[in-house]
């Protein structure tokens, strides 16, 4: 059993390693040392440009988005006391995609640089609330999953519809980008518009660790121990919408990270919710970054979507869950 500190440190180191690999990976090989040199001297050397305008933004967005997804998954699972909850399961992800699509394809994004992430945030918030209200306050896991399925299906249908109605001839084919997610051609702009919502979301989630721990004891006990339940729920739903909504408005909806990472890490932190938060963020960032590196290493002319790789990981994960469950029941 490794300690919290050791876990965070190892994940952190792995993340730094992955960052370096990410900076070295791309459709072209570039000499990293020269690229760094060029970026600092301010000359317009092509290696420096590739590094600072393409690879660094892409790496940072992968880290921020992955961390948001992992962290939000951990928060969601702890808040709902359900190991199957995730931003994707209760609809936040598809809601965010819907909000982003509505904003981008109909010209609203050009009104302000923050319009796109705000659309994603609004969509995520709306979807989560709908799923939660549908399922009811004391919903069993089954009810919550069903409500999430309904919200996801509806949001996805609306995304398709909007893309068909969009004025651009390219819109319809872009549904794959929104449903599977992609980090291709991320620029400085995407990084900047992602930051405010992400940081605001993380800030709201900060200092809530103890409350999530107390929820382990049950809602009534937690209330008697100082947790204000309604306030906590609203705060955390808003936080998740901010972080996940911003991320998805830029990368599209990337699945499984919010579900798999907290699930895998929870036993390593003794099932304690407060200790799950930081490792989940680091783990999510690491997973997304590695999936993106994988996407860039696969030699196809059209980059495959990063969500394909996370789904390829997610499906066996569910299989393992089922087998585990069967073994436990047997």
């Amino acid at each position: 059993m490794i300690s919290q500190k050791q876990l965070n440190l190892s994940l952190g180191l792995l993340l730094v390693g992955a960052m370096l690999i990410s900076l070295l990976t791309g459709s072209q090989t570039i000499p990293l040392y020269q690229a760094i040199e060029e970026s600092f001297t301010g000359l317009n050397g092509v290696y420096g440009i590739i590094l600072t305008e393409l690879r660094i933004p892409r790496t940072l967005v992968a880290i921020l988005a992955g961390a948001s997804l992992g962290l939000s998954g951990a928060v969601m699972q702890s808040l709902l006391r359900n190991p199957l909850a995730s931003p994707g399961l209760v609809g936040s992800a598809s809601g965010a995609a819907l909000g982003a699509v509505a904003t981008l394809y109909f010209g609203l994004a050009s009104l302000s640089s923050l319009a796109l992430p705000m659309g994603g945030i609004a969509g995520a918030l709306l979807a989560t609330l709908t799923a939660y209200l549908l399922a009811g306050r004391d919903a069993s896991p089954l009810t919550l999953i069903l409500a999430g399925v309904a919200v996801n299906a509806f949001a996805l249908a609306l995304v398709s519809l909007l893309l068909n109605l969009a004025p651009s001839p390219y819109a319809v084919q872009e549904i794959a980008l929104w449903m599977l997610g992609s980090l291709a051609n991320i620029s400085r702009n995407e990084l900047l518009i992602l930051l405010p919502g992400t940081l605001a979301g993380w800030l709201l989630m900060w200092r809530q660790g103890h409350h999530l721990d107390l929820l382990t004891l049950g809602e009534e006990t937690a209330t008697s121990m100082g947790v204000q339940l309604i306030k906590l729920r609203w705060r955390l739903f808003l936080a998740i919408a901010l972080a996940v909504g911003s991320a998805i408005s830029v990368t599209g909806s990337i699945g499984f990270i919010g579900l798999v990472i907290p699930h895998l890490i929870r036993p390593l932190v003794g099932y304690q919710p407060s200790k799950l938060l930081i490792p989940s963020a680091l783990g999510g960032a690491l997973l997304l970054l590695m999936a993106d590196i994988g996407v860039r290493l696969i030699p196809l002319t059209t980059e495959i979507k990063v969500g394909v790789i996370t789904s390829l990981l997610g499906a066996p994960f569910f299989l393992w869950l089922i087998l585990n469950q069967r073994r436990r029941e047997a």
């Binding site: 200092r207 209330t223 100082g226």
Partner: protein, 264 residues
């Protein structure tokens, strides 16, 4: 002066009146037993005192100040609540669960200090949880789980402990242990309000009793005065067999805990 006072507490749920103008008070060193039939409102009263539910009418005073003058965290430091049924969300180890009881005293970034750890250790020993300290909660029996919950409540070192049937699931030995523990807890400057069904235990360990019947206080005061045959018959609709009457089958009353090595 009483530490916790409830005056004129009323509570309605789904149109039904659960509590009618209940007065209750508890002071340092007291073990107040709340007895009465099912549905009398005992658990609800405890929930009102714990802050889990809001009374429709009435006042709550804690240490001379209205309860609303305290922040939820301050209140949690002074009142510990142990509900009857509690669903623990994650298969945490016993030690970790018990440690959660210290959270009301910690800042959001703090980890339990050495003093906290010592206290946790002591309580776990008192509740006979040391052999299970690393076991996952969901692998324990009902009685063991009840002891873990109690340990968690004790660890908070709150002035007042509100316990809703903490011994119902326990075997006689452990029942005696817990009640002895609670008595000792009160002697160190704390107070306990405990909901009980076992009248013998109530008689043995409580310093005061309050009998609830249909949402109102039927009797309140010393053990002898409350446990009169007349009160009990009215409240429970049962005939009481006091010890000096004739009996048709053996009567065993658990009395004292003995250590295993005393037997040999």
């Amino acid at each position: 002066m009483s530490h916790l006072i409830g005056q004129g507490l009323c509570f309605k749920k789904s149109g039904q009146t659960i509590l009618k103008q209940i007065d209750v008070h508890i002071d340092q060193g007291e073990v107040l037993g709340l007895i009465g039939p099912n549905g009398a409102g005992k658990s609800t009263l405890l929930r009102l005192l714990a802050g889990v539910a809001e009374p429709d009418q009435g006042r709550l005073t804690l240490a001379g100040k209205p309860v609303s003058a305290f922040t939820p965290k301050q209140r949690a430091q002074r009142i510990a609540y142990l509900p009857q049924l509690s669903e623990i969300a994650w298969p945490m180890s016993v030690e970790r669960l018990v440690a959660l009881g210290r959270l009301p005293h910690l800042e959001h970034w703090q980890q339990p200090t050495t003093e906290d750890m010592v206290l946790i250790e002591t309580v776990m020993r008192q509740t006979d949880l040391i052999p299970f300290r690393h076991r996952a909660y969901n692998t324990l029996s009902g009685g063991e789980q009840a002891r873990v919950q109690l340990a968690r409540a004790l660890v908070t070192e709150a002035d007042i402990l509100l316990a809703d049937e903490p011994v119902s699931a326990l075997d006689p030995a452990h029942q005696l242990d817990v009640m002895t523990l609670l008595s000792a807890y009160c002697k160190t400057g704390h107070a306990v309000i405990i909901v009980l069904h076992d009248l013998a235990l109530a008689a043995h360990f409580c310093t005061r009793l309050q009998l609830l019947h249909q949402g109102a206080t039927l009797a309140e005061g010393s053990v002898e005065s409350v446990l009169s045959d007349q009160h009990l018959e009215t409240a429970y609709a049962i005939a009481i067999n006091s010890s000096d009457k004739q009996m048709q089958h053996p009567f065993s009353l658990p009395w004292r805990r003995i250590e295993r090595d005393e037997l040999t």
